[in-house]
Symmetry: C2
Subunit: 424 residues, 2 copies
């Protein structure tokens, strides 16, 4: 039985590194801004290394700074370890649970096993995946993606800090001493293969609370594609230029954003714009020359994601011609994360843990709305996830909250699922 | 007859101070970034002071840094001078003609008169109005507005540099020695009253070129109002938050911008959004918490400007409730510039000049789409404007261009209009 208090204290004590955005009076009433490989991320990494070594784990760091802590199993088998993994980096206005809970829960599982003298048959361990959020170096699930062979390492290394282009992910790995020597891959000879991957995570959505469930048995993740649209027009004076003479990229972008929402809604899919930018020298009385915006399209079926994208692009072409002299646009595909189905046996282990802890009435099978490192690990080892509810479904926000009870329940489920899978 | 070459060379030589945004190979193929009271603006002001003093003008500077150069008339009358005025500051990505042409043309008129020994009956002179663009210190036609009593001087002094809030308009006036001692007003005892105000300006729109006219006889300016809208929603994860649970201010803003365009179009008015901002920590997979955008509404009749504003706000209220859990919004009125009708006699003087120079077939009566210093002077002295075409109607852009012929024609018209009015 895991130690709920130790888990809670460890999680919040380590949030000292990166705490930001106070919203209440309690010491833990802050969000987090622990961006990948900033000084606070380096601090929590060093702390993590010390803690797992205290437990007698071996620690390996690969060329993306992914940290693998490993506890030997009873059989001294050469088989790859059963991993419990998530991430310690956060959004710039993030919370204290997204990713962090998964790593702290995994550590608590190892501590509980050690304390109670329990040994798994096979090796078990924890992974801290680098730059899951993609908030500082703009590629999410970045280093599990490299590990899975889905992202070329050079491309990941070359990612630039979105606010300071002189800094790359690789230069930050080097600065903090986290450019390890193991190849970042699942290759058994040069890399770090895993026998399985379990991830505890907050749901980040309202489905568990709305259905009054406390454990989500996650059998897969929806597909998503991130596009960046750039709409080109022409600077013009807002007072002297008739509508008919304009090429207004902000008007066109506005129509495009509204259209993408309406199209996605018809398909029961999601389409969202998080970022829109006009040039920094924009002014109230000048039609902007260019507008950039992001488009995030999601659905559990890839075919629907593609249909929404196609329909949006067709609608955008019509919109581009609609007003004045028209605008032009181009787009790039920044992320393509197809839908995944997790491993049946791993899902069964999570289901078994949930059945034992809360029963069928308090758990539910679900599909993850967000991408997670497990989406990538699932391509190279049996994987599954456990969701616990977070308050009002809010995440990527300072007030993100998961109760001590739910944190503990999820961690216990993680332990049971790993033990179940180890036996299997 | 004005000296076309001297005008052209003077204009471009002085654009050395603030030249920026090269777009072609000729020395003059750049735009300008001579923001109000930056070091280049101070340089061109010192040059202007020297030049008008060389001509024998007296120079007065008021408490907003407005510069009044005055040439005595033949009658040695105590009447206020007939002014030719415009501005030497530019947009951050501005051109070489907007405002600058008006001041250089006025100087050329004085040079021509001096050279040919011609004296007006009444005093004539040039005004360089401070911060017409409102690009650095965000209030356009700022110091003619103070002069006209429409903007309180303290408010103008307190305007902060939009990129460096530690700097105010007043602190920059002081730094460069342009905080003069004359009150900035048209008051005959404490301020600097004007007998009339004529302004030559590029049209900044496509109407003259489209109608193949070379002089616009400007009889007034349309009204406009600038609103800043702030739309409030809630941060949410784009992958895990169903549309029904969202409060998406960027989606709402997009619908508002599109709606404002459609509403203005129905009224034959203009509504434009130049700036839209999401928080700097926005990310692709987070619904933004807040969006700010500007709205610039224009029409020659104030009643229509107000009707468009009212209809927009009503539409925005409906849009705020339209998607998910709805958003809230508030707004502020940043500029309110009612429509103005210029003085009949001044307009007649411009018309007389145009008739003489190009005939009725090549000139046209028009209403200014943009605000100008003359909009404010017209409230306290008889005023009118002369427009000349600029290439493709483009202004507020580095490639803004007015041909040497059109610059000269406009300047000659300015001379003739002033002489005509002086006689009148
Ligand atoms: N869990 C999470 O926020 N992952 C980032 C990728 C995504 O937007 O789904
Ligand atoms: N001429 C000019 O650009 N004036 C600024 C105020 C306006 O936008 O009309």
């Amino acid at each position: 039985k895991i130690n709920s208090e130790r888990l809670w204290n460890t999680l919040h004590d380590t949030c000292e590194w990166g705490a930001e955005h106070r919203y209440g009076e309690k010491p833990t009433d802050t969000g987090m801004a622990r961006l990948t490989l900033n000084d606070d991320d380096a601090r929590v990494r060093r702390w993590f290394a010390t803690e797992v070594q205290k437990l007698g784990c071996s620690l390996s760091v690969d060329q993306m700074g992914n940290m693998f802590a490993r506890q030997s199993g009873r059989l001294n088998s050469a088989a790859p370890m059963i991993a419990m993994g998530s991430h310690l980096d956060t959004q710039p206005r993030g919370g204290r649970y997204d990713g962090i809970l998964g790593v702290m829960a995994a550590l608590e599982v190892l501590r509980t096993m050690k304390e109670s003298g329990f040994q798994t048959d096979y090796d078990v361990g924890v992974v801290n995946w680098t730059n899951e959020e993609g908030a500082r170096f703009p590629k999410s699930m970045c280093s599990s993606g490299v590990w899975a062979g889905a992202i070329p390492i050079q491309k990941a290394w070359d990612l630039r800090d979105i606010h300071d282009p002189s800094v790359t992910l690789r230069s930050e790995l080097e600065r903090h001493g986290y450019l390890g020597d193991i190849s970042c891959s699942s290759d058994p000879t040069t890399g770090y293969p895993l026998g399985a991957h379990f991830e505890l995570h907050i749901e980040q959505g309202p489905i568990l609370p709305e259905n009054n469930r406390s454990i989500g048995v996650v059998r897969g993740a929806q597909g998503y594609r991130w596009l960046t649209m750039t709409v080109h027009g022409k600077d013009a004076h807002t007072g002297t230029t008739p509508f008919s003479a304009r090429q207004d990229p902000l008007l066109a972008s506005s129509r495009m954003i509204a259209a993408s929402h309406d199209i996605a809604k018809r398909h029961d899919a999601l389409a969202s714009t998080g970022i829109i930018r006009v040039p920094s020298n924009a002014s109230t009385n000048t039609v902007s020359s260019q507008v950039t915006f992001t488009l995030d399209i999601r659905h559990p079926q890839d075919i629907v994601v593609h249909a929404v994208q196609d329909e949006c692009l067709k609608a955008f072409e019509a919109i581009a011609l609609q007003d004045g002299k028209g605008v032009s646009f181009d787009w790039s595909l920044d992320t393509d994360s197809p839908a995944v189905k997790f491993d049946d046996n791993c899902v069964a282990s999570v289901q078994a843990a949930a059945d034992q802890l809360v029963g069928r009435g308090k758990s539910m099978l679900m599909t993850s709305g967000a991408g997670h490192d497990t989406v990538y690990t699932s391509k190279h080892c049996p994987s599954a996830m456990i969701f616990v509810p977070c308050r009002d479904g809010v995440s990527h926000h300072p007030t993100e909250y998961c109760s001590p009870q739910d944190c503990a329940l999820g961690t216990q489920a993680l332990l049971e699922a790993v033990v179940h899978y180890d036996q299997f």
